[in-house]
Subunit: 326 residues, 2 copies
């Protein structure tokens, strides 16, 4: 497939670098201020190495306008711009442009899937292309496609550890007996936490992922999309990890337990909160690992753990989606 990659952060760049290995061709790349588009007439394509180097050295991906990438002749658009809430722009419009042109769209950007799932499904219904978004939930973990394969009507709940930064902090607090502020500073030094860590430590990121899963469950189980309940971040009950004292983790450890930030989605509720889990239990993944537990009607509980973030890991999920659409 010919890909237009919108967004040149870690995920977008990894998609550009790995596409060829998955048998796809990148015909356009855009960041917020520039683009590079393959020239169909001269046959000159987009050189992954040139794009990535130029982005690193000059802060742009090419000499074209970002709009040119949206207008390029691609089969699938990869939306990998930063997640925005509310109207989920400009990501939503990028996806709409692709679908209205009867092309496919693959999202790594959580905004449109968490905040405008109904609008997205309406666009899919009205046009020929498909939409996939495995990369929005749990990085390399195939959460969405596994739920789809089991079929949403046979999944009663999906829960798990869906934010590596919060999990890293909780793991270190428990292992070293340190307080939140101390471990946060360490995580920031290591690049595991952002300068403003709110999105991760307040549970917003995990909540967006659970909202997406709730939408998959709700729309997937409904006979008619009009009957499905649509979820947005506003429907999520969210509590973060800022206020967990080190003493709580010490107390938990005395009882063979620890604390994890657990998100849970059903077709009716979304909740993210710190919860006590068994120290050596399945949910107690360490460091930046993520885990997803899928509760099924007929096949018991399925646990999938792996790397929940990272450029190549998330790009693998994007390229898996491209393969499924091909």
């Amino acid at each position: 497939m010919r890909l237009a990659v919108i967004g040149a952060g870690a995920v977008g760049r990894s998609v550009v670098e790995l596409a060829d290995e998955y048998g796809h061709e990148v015909v356009a790349v855009a960041d917020s201020s520039s683009a590079v588009v393959a020239d169909a007439e001269t046959g000159s394509g987009v050189d992954a190495e040139v794009v990535v180097t130029r982005k690193a050295e000059a802060g742009v991906v090419g000499d074209d306008d970002p709009e040119d990438a949206l207008a390029a002749d691609y089969d699938a658009l990869v939306e990998a711009t930063p997640t925005t809430l509310g109207d989920a722009e400009p990501g939503f419009s990028h996806v709409r442009t692709a679908l209205e042109r009867d092309r496919h769209a693959v999202l790594a950007n959580k905004g449109p899937v968490a905040e405008r799932y109904g609008d997205l499904q309406a666009l899919v219904a009205d046009n020929a292309g498909g939409v996939r978004f495995e990369a929005t939930v749990g990085g390399a973990i195939p959460a969405v496609s596994t739920v789809e394969d089991i079929e949403p009507g046979h999944v009663t709940a999906v829960r798990g550890v869906l934010n590596g930064t919060a999990n890293f902090i909780l793991t270190r607090m428990a292992a070293e007996g340190l307080d939140y502020e101390h471990v946060l500073a360490e995580a920031q030094d290591l690049g595991v936490a952002e300068a403003d860590p709110s999105f991760d430590v307040d549970g917003t990121d995990a909540a967006l992922k659970c909202v997406i899963l709730a939408n998959v469950l709700s729309f997937g189980a409904a006979d008619d999309p009009a009957d499905a309940r649509e979820f947005t971040l506003a429907d999520a009950d969210v509590e973060g990890i800022r206020d967990i004292p080190g003493s709580t983790l010490r107390l938990a450890a005395e009882d063979g337990r620890t604390v994890r930030l657990i998100g849970e989605a059903t077709g009716e509720t979304v909740r993210v909160a710190p919860r006590l889990v068994h120290e050596n239990g399945t949910l107690a993944v360490s460091g930046t690992q993520n885990i997803v537990q899928i509760e099924t009607s007929h096949a018991g509980r399925l646990n999938i753990s792996g790397r929940g973030a990272g450029g190549p890991e998330t790009a693998s999920a994007v390229l898996g989606d491209v393969g499924r659409l091909g």
Copy 2:
């Protein structure tokens, strides 16, 4: 899809019972001596409850001949007869009949996929239908489809605990400090082990699953199937758990370890043997749980654990495959 279910053991019966819930219709069921086939003219279908009750009470599924089920008007044949080695008959011929009629085939029977993978792929290449076999590896765990989604060329190895009976025995030996023979007798009482446990405790069952995974990796990564290496049970290096003394588990426990029967497949090797693993590590699943670890080129390691056996669990995998073929 209209299904013909060949084999009326635990898996076949569960497929018959659950098909309707997954939106499919059972038009024929056969066991080794009888069959029931829907009558297209009168519109009378196959009643799941009647079939299952008759099988339990009278040992037959209906008044028709097994051959009638193979000749029925189905879209997909479900091969759920017991696994046989070598020529993998009669399962292989059932699948061939379906494919030569340009129908799909879904296998829960490991024989044809482990022993005659090349023949199976040749039939798929020459006919219109597809073949899937998720249920042959790890019950409810989506091992095969996850490898396919990642793409076999990007998977360097697949390993895991793939036999619940052997794992139950090792778990109990470690937990209770008992010897193999004692725990085996207990497992037989509980119905977790067969009267003749060889297939499970000698590693044959785990090896067949690894052979199947090796074939998926080898054929999936090859540009031309003619270049792919075909694996059979004869290519597997297999060691079971009969000879593990209780003292080994006690010694391992002193060092925070335990023993698990680990199978591993790459595109070049298949090996099954008892191995030391960390007591609380990912591979140390308990009881009859199974786990599959997938090593990827770009997305790190993915762990999937869940129920590795059981009628409804395995039937869910079968019906997931039917969905993927639809």
